[in-house]
């Protein structure tokens, strides 16, 4: 009795629903726009790089009135991103869910702690990039990068602090530049701290010999009276603002660059129309005054790539990273 009743009422509901979805699918074919608010996920706790990107982008889009629907920032912390990725991977085709991404989407799976990697998701756009910076104390004997690397060659136990785990961004960046300078990448004594800030205090206190961290993050500690000396940045060209006086690696004869890029990805198999909509939206956002102001304050550099270019870039990055991780003996299962 009950079962029949349920089946009947189900049909009654499903039929009009099917008609509705059919109708909206037809509308989507030409020019897709979001039909509800967009969940914009930062796969980490508040306060970090992903979180800052998500909140800044959501705010600029809202303040500049770029989208009819609002972007809601959601934090899904855990496993260096793996928890959020596992959730998003289940949401195939959902056009209303995006997440912030950066090198860990490649590095974490390579280390073997996430079942999902960048190929499981839809690249939407690369937005910005930051670069690595290598710092020593102002009274340290090293005046430039080459002197630091000579010292490391002589004494491999010289400690280099970074703000992330072995095999993640700071370590890869350091190992890469060391290899380019002719050292054995695995010989660098990399000391992982639980954040760039902690690495920095350890440098100020003289507990480690040098630190590698994000240039944008470090810019607050530079300038007069800081007690720190920047030795080089990983950008292809000199950076702006307080970072303008710092030579690049390449200027010092070390042919290596490293991008800490950040972008946006969507659910697996996100519909093409939706991807096109977001691509255009982000491209438009990058042109606004509100974005420029926020970007400059945070020390970011625009590095837009559309979905296709971003996808190809991610594949390239994966190859590059797996080589370095292999050299370091950190490739996971």
């Amino acid at each position: 009795m009950t079962a029949r009743f349920t089946a009947k009422s189900l049909t009654a509901i499903v039929l009009p629903l099917a008609a509705l979805t059919g109708f909206s699918a037809a509308a989507q074919a030409d020019d897709w726009t979001p039909t509800r608010n967009i969940e914009f996920i930062a796969p980490a706790n508040p306060g970090g790089g992903w979180d800052t990107l998500v909140r800044t982008v959501s705010r600029v889009i809202q303040e500049e009135g770029l989208a009819e629907r609002s972007f809601g920032a959601i934090n899904v912390p855990g496993g260096g991103g793996a928890v959020a990725w596992a959730q998003i991977a289940r949401d195939t085709g959902n056009p209303h869910k995006l997440f912030a991404t950066s090198p860990p989407i490649i590095l974490v799976p390579l280390a073997g702690t996430s079942r999902f990697d960048h190929t499981d998701f839809t690249p939407v756009a690369r937005l910005i990039t930051d670069y690595s910076i290598i710092l020593v104390k102002a009274d340290a004997p090293y005046e430039d990068l080459n002197e630091l690397f000579e010292a490391i060659a002589e004494n491999p136990s010289l400690s280099i602090g970074g703000g992330s785990a072995p095999g993640s961004m700071d370590h890869i960046s350091m190992a890469g530049v060391a290899a380019a300078a002719g050292l054995d990448a695995a010989s660098v004594n990399y000391i992982p701290f639980s954040g760039g800030g902690e690495a920095m205090t350890n440098l100020m206190g003289g507990h480690v010999a040098a630190v590698i961290t994000g240039a944008g993050e470090a810019s607050g500690q530079l300038g007069e009276g800081s007690g720190l000396r920047p030795l080089g940045v990983s950008s292809p060209e000199r950076l702006g603002g307080v970072l303008a006086d710092i030579p690049t690696y390449q200027e010092q004869g070390i042919d290596y660059t490293f991008d800490i890029w950040r972008g946006v990805m969507g659910t697996p198999d996100m519909p093409e129309e939706a991807v096109a909509y977001y691509e255009a939206l982000f491209a438009e956002m990058l042109e606004t005054d509100g974005w420029e102001a926020a970007r400059d304050q945070l020390g970011w550099i625009d590095a837009y790539q559309d979905s296709e270019a971003f996808g190809a870039f991610l594949d390239e990055q994966k190859e590059q990273f797996s080589t370095i991780l292999g050299d370091l003996g950190l490739l996971g299962g």
């Binding site: 855990g78 496993g79 928890v83 800030g197 902690e198 810019s219 607050g220 304050q297």
Partner: protein, 493 residues
């Protein structure tokens, strides 16, 4: 008097009517957030960031700082009334606060918490004002070796927190350390105790364990005893008034813990939770009636409450003078400041004195507001204890579940909460103390990471722990605190 002039200047900013409003709004929001578990200061601050867009940086920081120390101030309420800490920094407050509430002295416990928080906050602001620029150097003098030794010193408190059976206390502490190292190991990327599930990759949130082992276990325990024993007498809140003798009793612990808490807060990576535990265990050891700690000693409320508020103020030292965040909450504050166009760091005192001194002055105001706001609320909030027992138990249950779910939106964490509730119940039934487990949970992973970092820096040479003077001193104090009670016992024979 340079600091005096600066303070006058700071007050000229903080006393701007709009800033007075921000202080008030901040501490009010903070108190409410602190009382609710789950919505901790970190997420509350992240939610505030959009509000500060377009504000003067000094106003924005005044508002956000108010939320932060307001949350620590308010967090004691649920610790005392429900045995369910609202924020991690107030777990130690429940050790004696909850027993006091059960004895019908909730009003007194809450009043002491408010006074202690106020005094701890105020003393530490004076320190912040006078010595902050110098303290930057103290903060960075702590490297991995020093942190390791500090954590060893902290862990010796297991002995004093174990009361009846030292063996059971040690077992609880070992379990605590094991829980603390769950997840991906930062040094090697190896997974430990994750049982192959992605939910455990980051380990277990401290509050899930604390709410389970304290609050939920209490609910289970009462249920087991069939409805919770004797009904509390009507008007179970008791008087808010302290006798002269009680004031004399809690004054020295508040003074000591305020100073200890402030310096703990100055160290990046230590903070309010560790500060409150250090304050609590220090007072327990110093007190002549140390064996009544954990059973409703007012000093056991005064010490952690003054220490956690002082630590909260102390954590502004590395943030404002070095530009490095010492905790999750200050990391969010740093991000907000950057967005407002201020880079905290050594240059900020010169470039933006309005931000630094404005915030310092606003903290004096904020602490007064908190006291005035909280004291009259105590009788109202404490009425919750007049609820019939079944309702109260259901309320605690909902409170814990909403808190945990609100933190991570993870059903898995709810199951963990249940599991830790059962573990806590088992520990109670078999006489295992919960405090050592919680202490080891807080200190364990920091101790391990620091030790391995230190050894990696020294190339595996253990002498790094005794070559560094601060580290050596901490280890000596730790050794003394373990051996002195023994020596005293021998001499007594």
């Amino acid at each position: 008097m340079d600091a005096f002039n600066n303070l006058i200047y700071g007050f000229s900013i903080a006393l701007d009517p709009i800033n007075i409003f921000y202080v008030f709004a901040g501490v009010f929001a903070g108190t409410v957030i602190g009382m609710l578990p789950g919505l901790g200061p970190i997420s509350a601050l992240a939610l505030m960031i959009p509000l500060t867009f377009g504000m003067e940086p000094s106003s924005g920081l005044i508002l956000m700082a108010g939320v932060y120390y307001g949350a620590i101030f308010g967090g004691s309420t649920s610790s005392i009334l429900l045995n369910a800490p609202g924020v991690a920094g107030t777990v130690a407050t429940s050790f004696d606060g909850y027993p006091l509430a059960k004895q019908g002295q909730a009003g007194k416990a809450l009043a002491i918490a408010a006074y202690a928080s106020f005094i701890g906050g105020t003393i530490s602001i004076i320190f912040l004002m006078l010595v902050a620029p110098l303290l930057g150097r103290v903060a960075v003098s702590f490297g991995p070796a020093e942190y390791f030794s500090l954590m060893v010193l902290g862990l010796t408190a297991v002995v004093s927190l174990s009361d009846k059976s030292l063996v059971k206390g040690l077992i609880a502490a070992v379990v605590g350390v094991m829980i603390s190292i769950m997840g991906i190991d930062l040094q090697t990327g190896t997974e430990r105790f994750t049982f192959g599930t992605v939910h455990l990759l980051d380990g277990i949130d401290f509050l899930v364990v604390a709410l389970g082992i304290f609050a939920l276990a209490e609910v289970f325990y009462m249920l087991l005893r069939g409805g919770g024993g004797k009904e509390q007498p009507r008007n179970a809140i008791g008087s808010l008034r302290l006798t002269k003798q009680e004031v004399r009793q809690i004054a020295p612990p508040i003074g000591r813990s305020s100073i200890l808490g402030f310096f703990t807060g100055v160290l990046p990576g230590a903070g309010a939770t560790i500060g409150s535990f250090l304050g609590y265990s220090m007072e327990k050891r110093l007190a002549k009636d140390g064996d009544t700690f954990g059973k409703g000693n007012i000093k056991g409320v005064a010490a952690p409450e003054s220490a956690n508020n002082a630590a909260c103020t102390g954590s502004f030292v590395p943030l404002l003078t070095l530009g490095v965040p010492g905790s999750g909450s200050t990391a969010v504050l740093l991000g907000a400041l950057l967005v407002m166009g201020v880079s905290p760091g050594p240059a900020m005192l010169v470039d933006r004195p309005d931000v630094f001194w404005g915030v310092v002055a606003s903290m004096y105001l904020g602490n007064i507001f908190l006291l005035v706001l909280n004291l009259p609320l105590i009788p109202l909030i404490a009425k919750i204890l007049d609820l019939p027992r079944p309702l109260l138990l259901a309320l605690i249950l909902i409170f814990c579940m909403v808190g945990v779910y609100g933190m991570s939106f993870s059903v898995f964490d709810l199951l963990l909460l249940l599991g830790f509730g059962l573990l806590g119940l088992g520990m109670r039934l078999f006489g295992f103390p919960a405090a050592p487990l919680i202490l080891a949970l807080i200190l364990g992973s920091i101790m391990e990471e620091s030790m391995r970092r230190a050894l990696q820096i020294s190339g595996g040479d253990w002498s790094i722990f005794i070559d560094k003077p601060i580290s050596l001193a901490l280890l000596v104090v730790a050794a003394l605190s373990l051996t002195l009670p023994l020596l005293r016992k021998f001499r007594a024979r």
